[in-house]
Symmetry: C2
Subunit: 276 residues, 2 copies
Amino acid sequence: MKKLKRSARLVEMTQYLLFRPHVLIPLTTFADQYNSAKSSISEDLAIIKEVFEDEGLGELQTLAGAAGGVRFTPKMTKAASLRLVEGLCAQLQQTERVLPGGFLYMTDLLGQPSIIQDLGKTFATAFADEDVDVVMTVETKGIPLAYATASFMNLPVVLVRRDAKVTEGSAVSINYVSGSNKRIQTMSLAKRALKEESRVLIIDDFMRVGGTVRGMIDLLQEFNATVKGIGVFVESTEAEERLVDNYVSLARMTAVDPKTKQVGVFPGNYFDEKEG
Amino acid sequence: MKKLKRSARLVEMTQYLLFRPHVLIPLTTFADQYNSAKSSISEDLAIIKEVFEDEGLGELQTLAGAAGGVRFTPKMTKAASLRLVEGLCAQLQQTERVLPGGFLYMTDLLGQPSIIQDLGKTFATAFADEDVDVVMTVETKGIPLAYATASFMNLPVVLVRRDAKVTEGSAVSINYVSGSNKRIQTMSLAKRALKEESRVLIIDDFMRVGGTVRGMIDLLQEFNATVKGIGVFVESTEAEERLVDNYVSLARMTAVDPKTKQVGVFPGNYFDEKEG
């Protein structure tokens, strides 16, 4: 058993906590690991807690008692998330991103792991108080966002496929109407991928009318699951009516002007002022 | 400007470095940020370096001189990677995972962000010495692995699609023969997704004959790109001949016995003893 100085212990404990979000760690784990008194460990944790809070990294909660310990909940301050999103909005408004059909090229931004991490941390903060069992998304572009969100919430990811793949065994499939082009499409989820009565957080990269998210909600009914939250990176404000209520969006885009290729992209409803 | 004690500074610097892999950080950044002498910062870094190395978290490299600074390279020791992979192999051998067609259900394991993170860190370690610009994968199941690998290497991810999507603009498509079922399939990559002459690391979840990876290699030729490495999570040892050489596999599975549903899963070539 190693005996560490406070300085080395602080480095070790910091990395240990950062890599184990939402896990309750008994103080005895640290005390045994570092061959230190619990009182020293408590002092270490007070230092770490203060820095984490000053830096807006998240909360370090200490639970007293026999079943007690310390738990790290990663958070991102709304101000930091807004800075990130405003930077992304400025980039997304560039007219060279406008593609035929009024779509917006954003694959390059979603290909940056550091951006994905911070967007995931923002979703994890937005839904931190919900009691969630799994994060769900549909292939393809929402996958990195869903994994980033799930990693900060210490949850597994469940992936809905656009067709039933042979490598996943028996599956439940539903048809749904894609809101944008009114085509009937299929999505399916392997039976063994989701326990009955799971509490689910849905994450996706883009929402126009909400047909895809609506499809996921309908699919979840087949598993008697409950939707505890919906988060989308960009919503289009083009649609007059949506098939989904109560979602969190991080950015909003207006309709693209097909002639001038002008498009407006603004922070989403997550940043709206709540009425007191 | 804040003036921090050493204890708080160590916590801050630890988290700062962990979140910025492969980035060269000048010592003046820390000195200015914490209003401390460079000599104190150097002492802090020596403590952090020792803990990171003892814990097998990675290397902290200090570069002297005017353009100098400190750089954190996340690594996972081969012993730690082997422990992880052996645990996964034991789970993958369960006969209830065998699906019709000799496939193996592994979606649940690949849905655990903590497993994905450690597999990504293993790939990042395996290819740490290669000069790579981007990590590439093909949809769908390799995506989380590719992002995890890329995040530890501080690189962007490029995603090859199974069909050209309207939301990505003009694309280069190729046909390739899927090794397993000899069907002709299509994959495509948006033109603006990859710069000419990029150096690419290919990551995927599964390889049997290697048709999909071979397809990615052929596609890369259209971009005058160079393949600097290929990493697959599980390779099947069933194929007599492969379309790909020089890849790193983390696990190997034997052919599935269709009657008994027995399958063997073992650590991959990354763990083979190299001949001296």
